[in-house]
């Protein structure tokens, strides 16, 4: 088994065999990210393929001191973001502006109204499933930061580098993403389950 750095150097000199080894080494990692971003295996596979191909073409610009996995993750998320923007045919709304409803009063009311918060009653498995599906309903920017930071565990600095935005932007976007998740999860959970037991009841 070759070490990645050697493989990269070889691949940079057009050694396709070396690149294939890199693919084998990193495909689970890349595919995993793709699955979290796209939410389904087919799109994930397409995205993973595209990411590796782009990576190969961009190998010339990869500085071998950097981490290859992070680098290809960066490519992956950006390919995905571009694809989303293209498909949605719209410029992304600036999600770094405060939500209209994100006023102190509104949130406070909402917090105060959380009597028998349906989410609290959910069991682990249900909660996790809800997280998964709600994640897919988020905007691409929100999903990207949440996936990179919370799921993949990248630091703020790494996320800001990968997404090419400032640290402050990453933080505020993350905040909003969490709020959006919470809001949406509550909504879905309410809609789905009048059948959901109130907090405290055993099932």
């Amino acid at each position: 088994m070759h070490d990645p750095k050697t493989l990269v150097i070889k691949a940079q000199s057009n050694d396709l065999g070396a690149f294939e080894e890199l693919v084998n080494l990193y495909q689970n990692k890349v595919y995993g990210l793709c699955l979290h971003l796209t939410g389904n295996p087919d799109d994930a596979q397409d995205l993973a393929q595209e990411a590796f191909i782009r990576a190969y073409k961009a190998l010339g610009r990869f500085r071998n001191e950097a981490d290859f996995g992070t680098w290809i993750h960066r490519i992956t998320v950006n390919v995905w973001l571009n694809l989303q923007r293209k498909n949605n045919g719209r410029k992304p709304v600036s999600l770094d502006e405060p939500y209209p409803s994100d006023k102190s009063g509104g949130l406070q009311r909402e917090v105060a109204a959380l009597d028998g918060d349906p989410l609290q009653a959910l069991e682990e498995k249900e909660f996790r499933g809800l997280v998964r599906t709600t994640l897919q309903s988020l905007s691409e920017e929100h999903r990207a930061v949440l996936v990179l930071r919370e799921i993949q565990g990248y630091s703020y600095e790494e996320v800001s580098r990968m997404l090419n935005c400032s640290l402050g932007t990453v933080k505020s976007r993350l905040s909003r993403a969490r709020e959006a998740m919470r809001r949406e999860m509550t909504k879905r959970s309410r809609e789905a389950g009048e059948a959901l037991p109130a907090a405290g009841e055993s099932r």
Binding site: N28, V30, G32, Q120, L146
Partner: protein
């Protein structure tokens, strides 16, 4: 503190940004505010769940690796491997068109042997083929390549995916008569018009859609004698996704009294609307036929077709629309790959080879860029 502040602090805490002091203050609030306490718990649960999702071992599908490598590797190793798939498809498409238009072997041959002008579609990939080689010895058909083209047409008709190598004979559209394109090219003295561009460092823009800089490309001359491959920068400046690349082709067959007169008139009519004219060698097999090919701006095309019809008695007309976009994009992808491989090549022989290949792609791309938005009129003149 009030709930609003608490909410803010909660967010900070989730990102581990709270100072001890602030954290203590938050805890105080949480102790007596069930709502906020619940909110924090929820958010922490969300974070934890997300992290768990990240810890799952996800397996990439088994097919992924081969899908990727097939995409990166050239398809088949054969004498034709160097011939871009797009070329074969294009030549086949063009040949098919001529067949449909009632093209006889003569016409097809004529179109293929044309070595001048910008008839890239049917020209050999080495644009320097100025001289039309002797027709081969094969019986009724003037050149062996003719047969190949027929084969090619058939093959490609059957191939759903143009990436298959052409199993039949020599490369279609190749310098007629030469069986092995690669060696043929290498041996041609001065036949390679490519001067190695100064070695630029690897500065290929990311193959994501970059802006078109078509102004850069026009440095290449339209005549067969092209010099110099565009620098990597310019080459990669092509728009990957052009807006529209539709080409309309018209085939018009006219019976005329006198070929020479008709030819002269047709040429001047074309010149009058700023069309480019290309004349193919006369073919005689029973009848004498002269084929001329005009490339004209789309808005002038109807008029030109009209007046050309007036040169004699039209007996056949066929219009066809082609969308070049898929072909163009596919070719462009391959072209960019070639450029990057060229830049990465350490061996100078390999580098040169890649340059040659990339150059032929480039010409094709340019030809298509020219063609898009224009109309092609294939005029077939024969004696009454």
């Amino acid at each position: 503190m009030d709930c609003r502040k608490a909410q803010y602090y909660i967010r900070q805490r989730l990102d581990q940004l709270l100072s001890e002091e602030d954290n203590a203050a938050l805890e105080q609030h949480l102790a007596c505010c069930e709502a906020c306490a619940g909110e924090l718990a929820l958010q922490e649960r969300l974070s934890m769940t997300l992290r768990e999702l990240g810890r799952e071992e996800i397996q990439a599908p088994a097919a992924l690796s081969s899908l990727i490598m097939n995409n990166l590797r050239p398809q088949r190793r054969s004498a034709l491997a160097w011939l871009p798939a797009a070329w074969r498809k294009t030549v086949a498409a063009a040949a098919t068109l001529m067949l449909l238009a009632g093209g006889s072997a003569g016409v097809m041959n004529g179109l293929n042997l044309a070595g001048n002008g910008k008839n890239i579609v049917m020209e050999s990939p080495t644009p320097n083929v100025a001289a039309v080689p002797e027709p081969g010895s094969a019986g009724g058909t003037p050149a062996p390549v003719d047969v190949d083209n027929n084969d090619n047409v058939n093959n490609n008709d059957n191939n759903a995916n143009g990436d298959e190598a052409n199993p039949g004979g020599s490369a279609p559209g190749d310098a007629p008569g030469s069986g092995t394109p690669e060696t043929g090219e290498a041996e041609k003295p001065g036949g390679n018009q490519i001067d190695s561009p100064p070695d630029t460092s690897q500065n290929n823009p990311q193959s994501k859609n970059s802006n078109s800089a078509e102004g850069d490309i026009t440095a290449v001359k339209p005549e067969g004698d092209r010099t110099g491959l565009s620098a990597p920068g310019a080459g990669s400046d092509r728009v990957l996704l052009s807006d529209d690349m539709k080409v309309t082709s018209t085939v018009l067959k006219i019976a005329v009294e006198d070929l020479a007169t008709a030819k002269t008139r047709a040429a001047s009519l074309a010149a009058g609307v700023g069309a480019e004219t290309q004349v193919f060698p006369e073919q005689t097999s029973g009848k004498t036929v002269l084929v001329m090919r005009f490339t004209v701006d789309s808005d002038k095309a109807p008029y030109l077709t009209e007046v050309l019809s007036g040169l004699g008695t039209p007996f056949h007309r066929q219009d066809e629309k082609r969308d070049l976009l898929p072909l163009y994009n596919e070719t462009k992808v391959q072209y960019n790959e070639l450029l990057e491989r060229r830049d990465a090549a350490t061996d100078s022989g390999e580098r040169r080879q890649l340059e040659i290949q990339a150059s032929s792609y480039e010409q094709l791309l340019e030809a298509w860029e020219e063609e898009a938005g224009k109309q092609v009129i294939n005029l077939w003149l024969e004696n009454k």
